[in-house]
Every structure is written in structure tokens, then in C-alpha cells.
């Protein structure tokens, strides 16, 4: 799934940095059959080099300062688990953890996430593939249908358990109301969080 964008990009950025002029005539460059990453050239000219710490690893990337954390994860680092559902903080599908707190990655600029610990849905399962109790509980309780909002639901669900908002069904419903599920798996999401909350407290 991950296309090696990160390492490939760094290399291309270096190569492209000397040929910025081609960005102004990308069609001509393409017509001559050149395959250089024109986007890299543009970014090299206008971008900001940053380092993001994601799921325990450091990622160096040059971004347009307007780029959100969500688009950086998805379009630059091949981490497509966080989803774009509205791009304006309304649906919760892009939820990740920043320093342990549930954060809307579509409302967070990538440059503002430097120096923070970022966790995405891809970073939850153990190295041996064992699912996080919340992930397992979502499967057990059929707490999703299309699955598109699910990464955001799970990231929020873990955060509300840590924040002490998962003590009973009512507080779970209230605390999870920032994550929309159009398939409407809500009752099953509540059941999953109730199950996982017990296991997380034990663990």
C-alpha cells in the first residue's frame, strides 16, 4: 500500500532542486517524455522542510506551509488510514492522536505538528499484528459497515477511554458525537467501546 513516497521523494527533491525552472513549463517537460516529479520541483521552491514523528518513526518531508497534517499523511507519506470526509472538522474521519490527544488532522497544519508524537490508525496494532483491544472490539461488535469513518472512530474511542469519558453508555455517546457514521453503526460502536474500555483498564 505504501508506495515508498517518502524515500523516493527525498531523492527526487534533491535532484529536482537544481531544475526548478521546469516547473513553469511542466507540459513541455512531460511532452518530451521526462518523468521527473514536477511537484517536487515546485515544493523545493516554495516548501518548508519538516520532520514529523509518526507511529514512533521520523519522517522528513518538504511541504507547502498550507498543507494539513491529513494531506501530508495521505498524499506524501502513504499513510491513508486517516480519511478525508469534510476537510473542515465536521465529521471526525481524519482523527489521529497528537501527543496522546484526539486531534482533527484536517484542521492541523503539518508544520504545526513538528516535535509532537503523532499516532495514526496504522500505528495501533502490535508489531506481531495483534490488534489493539479497541480494534478487536470493533470487529467483534460489527461496529462499522462501509468502514470509512472507522479509523477516526477508533482513534477517538481510545482517546475517550484514556480521558475517562467511557464509564457508561451515555457518556460514551456524548463523547463520541464528534465522529459521524453515515452507515449509522452507533449502537455497535458504543458496545465496542464498552467492551474495549474494560480490557484497556485491565491491560
Amino acid at each position: 500500500m505504501i508506495d515508498g513516497n517518502e524515500t523516493g521523494f527525498s531523492r527526487r527533491t534533491f535532484l529536482a532542486s537544481g531544475t526548478v525552472a521546469t516547473a513553469a513549463v511542466p507540459l513541455a517537460a512531460q511532452a518530451k517524455g521526462r518523468t521527473m516529479d514536477q511537484a517536487a520541483a515546485v515544493r523545493a521552491e516554495t516548501g518548508v522542510p519538516i520532520t514529523l514523528r509518526i507511529n514512533g518513526g521520523n519522517h522528513r518531508v518538504t511541504v507547502d506551509p498550507r498543507t494539513t497534517l491529513l494531506d501530508t499523511l495521505r498524499e506524501r507519506l502513504g499513510l491513508t488510514g486517516a480519511k478525508k470526509g469534510c476537510d473542515q472538522g465536521q465529521c471526525g474521519a481524519c482523527t489521529v492522536h497528537v501527543d496522546g490527544r484526539a486531534t482533527l488532522s484536517c484542521l492541523t497544519l503539518a508544520v504545526a505538528a513538528q516535535g509532537r508524537d503523532i499516532t495514526t490508525i496504522e500505528g495501533l496494532a502490535a508489531a506481531d499484528g495483534t490488534l489493539h483491544p479497541m480494534q478487536a472490539a470493533f470487529v467483534d461488535n460489527d461496529a462499522f459497515q462501509c468502514g470509512y469513518c472507522t479509523p477516526g472512530q477508533i482513534m477517538s474511542a481510545i482517546a475517550i477511554v484514556h480521558d475517562g469519558h467511557a464509564n457508561d453508555a451515555n457518556t460514551i455517546r456524548e463523547a463520541m458525537s464528534g465522529n459521524l457514521c453515515r452507515c449509522a453503526a452507533y449502537p455497535n460502536i458504543v458496545a465496542a467501546i464498552e467492551q474495549a474500555a474494560v480490557q484497556m483498564k485491565r491491560g
Partner: protein
Amino acid sequence: MADYSAPVPVPGKNMGKADARIEGREKVTGATVYASDAPVANPTFAYLITASVGRGKIRKFDLAEAKALPGVVAIFTHENVPKRADAEFFSDGGWVNTSFDPMESAEVRFAGQIIGVVIAETYEIARDAAHRVVVDYAPAEPSASLLSHGTETVDAAKVAKGWKDKEAGNFDKAWAAAAVKLEAGYATPTQHHNPIELFTTTVAWHGDELTIYEPSQFVWGLKNGVAKQLGIDPEKVMVVNPFVGGAFGSKGIMTQRTGIIAAIAREIRRPVKLVPTRTQGFYVSTYRAETRHAIKLGADKSGRLTALSHDGWELTSRSDDYKVGGTEATTQMYAIPNVTSKVHIVRADRQTPGFMRSPPEVPYMFALECAIDEMAEKCGIDPVEFRRINDTMKSPVSGEKFTSRHLVECFDAASTAFGWSKRNPKVGSMRDGDWLVGYGCAATCYPANTMAATARVRLSPDGSARVQIAAHDVGTGATTVMGQIVAEAFDIPLSKVTVEMGDTRLPPGPVAGGSQTTASGGSAVKAACDKVIARFGNRLPSGPALEAAFKKMNTGVVEEYAEWAPPKSTGGVAKLYTGRMSGAEGEEKPLLAYAYGAEFVEVHIHSRTKEIRVPRITGAFAGGRIMNPRTARSQLMGGLIWGISSALHEATEIDEKRARYVNDNIAEYLIPVNADIRSVEVILVPEVDDQIPMGAKGLGELGNVGTNAAVANAVYHATGQRIRELPITIDKLIV
């Protein structure tokens, strides 16, 4: 008794196993590749420029500032976008959800119309440039909605292919003679599907071959439609979309955007990624159009219905005569011998509407099931009893028998579980502190549709199997159900079955619409399994004996392809391969088969603020064989919540002057959040129907049909106010 509200129900009579979704692990780890997750090398990013007027002409574009931004690759308008061929409106035998090419000329027919596309090296640059484009319009006054000045009303029977208004007996005579009469009008608003996944399109050309990554409920339709638009061999077009992030009808029939983006990518010779904004999505795809209804119901003194008249008015665009025609359901719902009905289509300056979860039944059954409740009251009969009295086993219009019908059994099961007997029939009589309490119920129905399907199944000596079918999983659990059909046929564990779907490299499956994937796709899969078993002399060995059988046959795998078409139909498979909707030419005479259900709702309405809450809802459904009770329950539960949403939350507000959607985002277009939903109980009523394919009727659209009326009827019971226009909001209760 089974625990109905448990997330994983215990399978009952005529049910398959409650297996967990095959793709569950992928979905909870973020590994599922939705359309916009698919990586392409060296992409460009597209941003749409959309019309800000509701009608008019574009005088000119000023692109200078946008073009000057570094990283802008190209900007396309009607003046330079590559021309595409007309792939025609789908219900006229074509492929597209509207015949109107939004970039063909300077004409603007609706607000939000795609009038330009910016292509840039990054998303940020494309968005920036799009906002720097200045458009000079010569605006004209649009007709925005159903009741606007300047719309044009036509009879569906005159303009919609194959549509005939339903008639039976002699309505006028029966109406004149009726002892009890009701005349009432009902209205439903515009609604938008709003799947959480956006209407994305990623395209990449490899030489003369085109790959499309786009959420689709009908990949073979998209493949063939785009090929037609671009004038290329469909063999050169591949659509890849193993999982859809919610659709609800919005991704069934292809939109105009795909052809535009693919043509642009061909011209600039780079892959293009388009992720329209949530707001643009309100205009790029379709919507459920607003409707109005005039109902007349007549009954004799004993409460037997004798006469029904149902007129429906539906909004459509100026470009296409889209219709839903829900009188098909309402005129055949009860034993009413004298029926007249008419569907009117109203053309306005909007984009063409389209399928949205139970397209005909949601608006039309809202009208009928509210009217039934009103009529029961006029007759002094309990609404459950009233439906029992007027139940029928055959269509009063055609006289044909339903293949099976357990509506009364559904009412019995749901009313018992709900505690209907505790209801004081007197309006406004039940309270909980400051809250008025109301109980209401309604019937639900949805036809058991089918269309042609094909599938390929492979069995290996180790007892593992693979099934390939370009059917679609929009969250229904179709992937798991297809796997279960194979597991059951070969008597192997589900874990040994690989399921491949949503890809045009696979044999074509049915459109994921009309709740027909299980019956249609499942029949093709079953037929392929049967052909595999036939290769073993119709007795499939297991374990070492299976391996020995393969050795004896001197083969590595046994693989079979099968085609299936609905009984009595012709030409369905050939049409399926062309990606057109089967049955569009009206060659089939389908079975008269419906799934039914009963829904019971408790509402609490604050006596002073009129705040409305739904603490619980119970639905009982008879949908034939239940392939997987776990995913079935989830679908019906989601349907019930959709119903609550439609009854109380959802409406796209329309700016009458500008013909624009006012609340065109997912915060202001209200759908329930977790805290809005309390107890949702789903009861699966056992039903055996040997006449229909797979014995299964389809559940995806059954849940949300009756809910609007059940809620409205409960609101009446609590307050004495009949709210006949959806959604039921506080302002309508404060009078």
C-alpha cells in the same frame, strides 16, 4: 427468546451463520484501500470550479491570476476542455445520471455545476488557483424548487419510459360511497446522501489504457460509460474499487465528472487526482428530490379500506425526466379494491436528482402510512389492528399473488417486543415528567429486485476457494455473504474463501442498488459453485479425498464461470456486459415479491421547548432467507437510524432566489450523531420463500422506509399535532 439488541444475534430459522466481516481486520487497521487511497505515480491534483449562479450564461473567465501561480499545470473551461461523446441518461438506455454535459458550453443550468477544472502540482496550489478564477456571468432567474414560479409539470406516464400509472376498480364510485373518508396532503424535502467518503476520482493512463479509481456501486457501468464518452474500446478501461466508503445510491449511476477528469488526464499526459469538497459533493452527484402528495382514503363502517387515490409530484431537472414513482408500492400495499394514482414530474433549474436509499418508497410510503394512521383513528380502530384488517396476499392492482408476505407477523413480533399494549390510545395522555410521550407505528416494504450477474469460482486441492465477482460492498457485508455462499456450497470454513469484488477485471456483477446484490450476485456465485461441484460428479469430496480427486482429474484447480439472469428475463447478461441497467427496456416481468416489516417508535417531546427525542425504536422484518444475521442486523439498524434521521433531522434547505443549497456541508446538513441514538432493536422474522432467487429478498433499503411515518404517528400520539411535512422540527410543533 433471542436477544434482539445484541450486536451479534443468534442465528434463527432459515438463517446463515453470523460470521464476522471478512474484511474486518483491514477496516480497523486502516489497510482498506478506498478509491482516493490508491497511489499513482507523479499525480496532478484537480480542483473544481463550480457555478455560483442558478441559471445563466458564462460571459467570460478571467484566468490570468490563477494561471500565474507557480505549479499550475492547466486550467480547463468549456472553451478548451476536451470534447466527449454523449453517454446518455441512464434510464433512456445510457450510462450517466444526467444527459447534460456541464462543460459543453457557456450555459449554466444549475448552481454548483462544474464549469472549470484547475490542474496543479499540489492540492494546495490547485485550490488557491481555483479561488483566483473570476467568472463573469449573465445570470437568469432560476426556478428553484417544487413550488417555484416557472417550473414545468408533466405526467410521468407521458415522458418516463415504461411508466404506467396504477389503476384498479372504480375509485370515483367507491369514494362517493365510502362511509369514512380522509383527504390529506404530505410533503418530503430534498435530501443528500452524504456518505462520509467524498466523490473522488483518480485516473491514470498507461498508453491507451485508462485506470479509474473511483467509489462506484457499478464498476462495469462506469467502465462502459467512460469508454463511450472518450470514444475508446471499453476493454481499455479498468475501474478498481474493492470497497466503497458509503454510497446510499449516490455512487450508483456515473456522474459527468469522471469523463471530464479522464479526458483532461489524457490531454495533459499525467495522472489526475480529484477530491471534490464536501460542499461540491452536494452538486456533483445526485440527491433525493422533494415530493408532495395528495391522498384520499375511503373505508366502510367496519374499517375496511375501499378506495385509494394517490397523486405524487416529484422534482426533476430541465435536462432529464428522472422519476421514482412510489405509487407502485403504495397502491399494492393493502387490500384496497378501487385505486387511482398519478405521478407528476416537475422540471426545475436544479441538477438531475437520483437514487437515494429506497428512492420511491421513502417519500410515497411516508404519505400512505401517515394516512393509514389517520384513517385508523377516524375508524376508531387500533393502527395495528387496522393493518391486519386490510392485509392482502395479492396485489389489488394486478390480482397477482405475492410470493410471500408476513406483514402481520412482523406487526405481531414488533408490537409484542415494543410493548404496544401499554399504549394509552388517547392522544397526549402519556407523560414522563416534563416530557410528552408518544407511541407510533408504521409498515415498511421494499421490492425483492434482481438483475443479471456473472461470477467465477475456483476450488483448489487444499480445500481453499476463490470467488470473483464485480459486485460491490458499500458496507452491506456483501463481501462476507459472497464468501459464505461459497463456504456453504463447498462445505469449507469461510476462512478458506478469498473474495474479490469491485474491479472490472472480474466478471460483472449487479449494481449495488435496489437491494439486489445477495439475490442476484449470490445466484451467479451459487451457479458457479454448482458447476464446480458438477465437475466432481455432483459430490464434492473433502480433505485428502478432495486432493485425490484433483489428482485423478489430473488438474491443479477447478474453475468455473457462470451467468445468471432473473427468471423470465431476456438479454440481461449481454446488457450487463455493456454496463447498462438491466431491465431498462421493460422486457422482464418480474415476480411480485416484496420484503415487509413493522416499525414501532417511542418519542419524547418536551412540553415547553418541543425538543424531540427518540429513546427507542423496534423493527421487525421478514426478508426471506437471512444470509448473515450479524450483517443483516447492522443493515436494518442503520436503516432504522436513517429513518429517524429522515423524520427529524435531514433536509437540504434551498435558497429560493438563487436555487442553491443553503446548508451544503455535513455540520449544517443534520444527520444523527451518536448521542441522538438510543435503543435500536432489530427482530428478524423467519420467512421461507422458495420462489425467489436465493430465497433472499434484500435488506439494505427495507429499514428506512416506514420510519418517517412511525415517528410522525408517534409525534401525533404525544401532541395531537399531525405534522405532514418532513422533517418534523421544533418550529413545526410550536404553533
